[in-house]
């Protein structure tokens, strides 16, 4: 448990990076985790070369889901849409670096789900999810 709420997670949960909603934006998607009621709304700006130039997100949820969104946002800023396509669940989980029970995995992965569906559609997320 103490591992789960390590300093870095709590810091991101309390001081989320890139928090807010971009208006206007190029990509926008929102999803819920029906089990817990976690909600995440993501907005992105993408330049003509496909590079992510700005991120804004907001939502409600537990420390894990919020920290995950914050860390994922930092990770993808400046990358191209193509570079992110191959990002796997494990990449995100490694970034979080905490042991997660199956029920909490859903909280951690909500940010990746919103990102993938927002950028590439539901099918791409299914593939990532089934990996």
């Amino acid at each position: 448990m103490d591992d789960m709420y390590r300093e870095l997670i709590l810091d991101h949960a309390k001081n989320p990076r890139n928090h807010g909603v971009l208006e206007p934006c190029d990509v926008e998607y929102e999803a819920h985790n029906p089990l817990c009621g976690d909600r995440l709304h993501l907005t992105l700006r993408v330049d003509p070369t496909g590079r992510i130039t700005a991120i804004g997100w907001e939502g409600d949820g537990c420390a894990i889901s919020q920290a995950s969104a914050s860390m994922l946002g930092e990770e993808i800023l400046g990358k191209t849409v193509d570079e992110i396509r191959t990002m796997s669940k494990d990449t995100l989980l490694e970034m979080l670096g905490i042991p997660l029970s199956p029920n909490r995995l859903k909280c951690a992965l909500l940010s990746l789900e919103v990102l993938k569906i927002g950028l590439y559609g539901r099918e791409a997320w299914r593939e990532t999810e089934d990996e």
């Binding site: 709420y5 009621g37 537990c62 909280c107």
Partner: protein, 417 residues
Amino acid sequence: MPSESFGGALDVVGLRSDFPALQQEHHPGVPLVYLDNAATTQKPNVVIEAMSDYYRRYNANVHRGIHKLSEEATAAYENARVVLKRFINAASKREIIFTRGTTEGINLVAQTWGRTSLNAGDVVLLTEMEHHSNIVPWQMLAAERRLRLRYTPLRTDGALDMDAFRRLLQEEPVKLVGFMFVSNVLGTVNPAQEMIRLAHEAGAVVVVDAAQAVPHQSIDVQALDCDFLVFSGHKMLGPTGSGVLYGKRALLEAMPPWMGGGDMISRVGFERSEWNELPYKFEAGTPSIAEAIGLGAAVEYLNRVTMAAIHHYEQEIIAYALERLSEVPGLHLVTPEHTPHGAVATFTLQGIHAHDVAQVLDAHGIAIRAGHHCAMPLHERLGLNATARASFYFYNTLEEVDRLVAGIYAAKQTFSV
């Protein structure tokens, strides 16, 4: 055999020894504090043994075999029905339909009574505090038959707005009233008897979701005069996959069956079949035999402890829990402080999401539930997206309440709030 003295204080320590799962350590050196009883309760030895005795010794199908094992299994299964009939004081054992639980019971009523009695434009009146299991089956039927769903609102103190309920009953003809007896989130105990009387005066049929009532207080369906009442075995010491739909005999007789198959027919031809008598008309296929027998054993256990003593003790423990919780800075009780009160304490903690509260408590050996507790509309109404819920049963102790409170302080420390 539980040690108890009627109407007096429960010997909780003695009773706890009947529950193997309560004896364990959650982590080495940390005894389990199980406070998720509204989700499901632990099982006493007598229930586990009754089920294992069936499987070990007289496992056989019911209502078919002309052999000793089948006769014994049939007798045990039917005996469980009689035990349940007495427990809720039904007029006849034919009014006791075994189901997999509350959800199945409500779906059965919607799919049989509902499909034959509700037509386009008819009004189904529910409440804003319902569990999904008493909303979704009606929404499904409403989409199919173009029914209109109405919801009795809550007052700010978490009780149903009975003035609105009366008004809704008068505004337009209501065909069906469905409500929960005790809320699994708020702990509100609805005035069931009065609601049933008012609904009947308005000409409506009444379904009561008693999933959180039957485990905690004595219920008399004839005194209540409800048309249907449903509950789950697993929330009252029984196994999962067990439950009861009670229905008034005249209504059940007039209803078509739901699922077709073996056991529910008296005669089958290639073109048509004749339905079996009650209750078998609604118990198609091989039923959950071990589960019904286990539920019967659970009810016999509850009878020995007595529902009066259980109810009395739970009022004490929930009052203590609400008092202790209300002293915690930053803790907001979603549960209003009413009496009598269901044995649930639902809360939010400022600065910590309910999931994180549950996670920290788990590390301290305390099992609670976090989320929306299958009541998303209610949470929407309360403006909350997730809450933490500690729910009690008669085997919980005041010391466990203290450990819950200590765990909450630990969570506040982890999150520095």
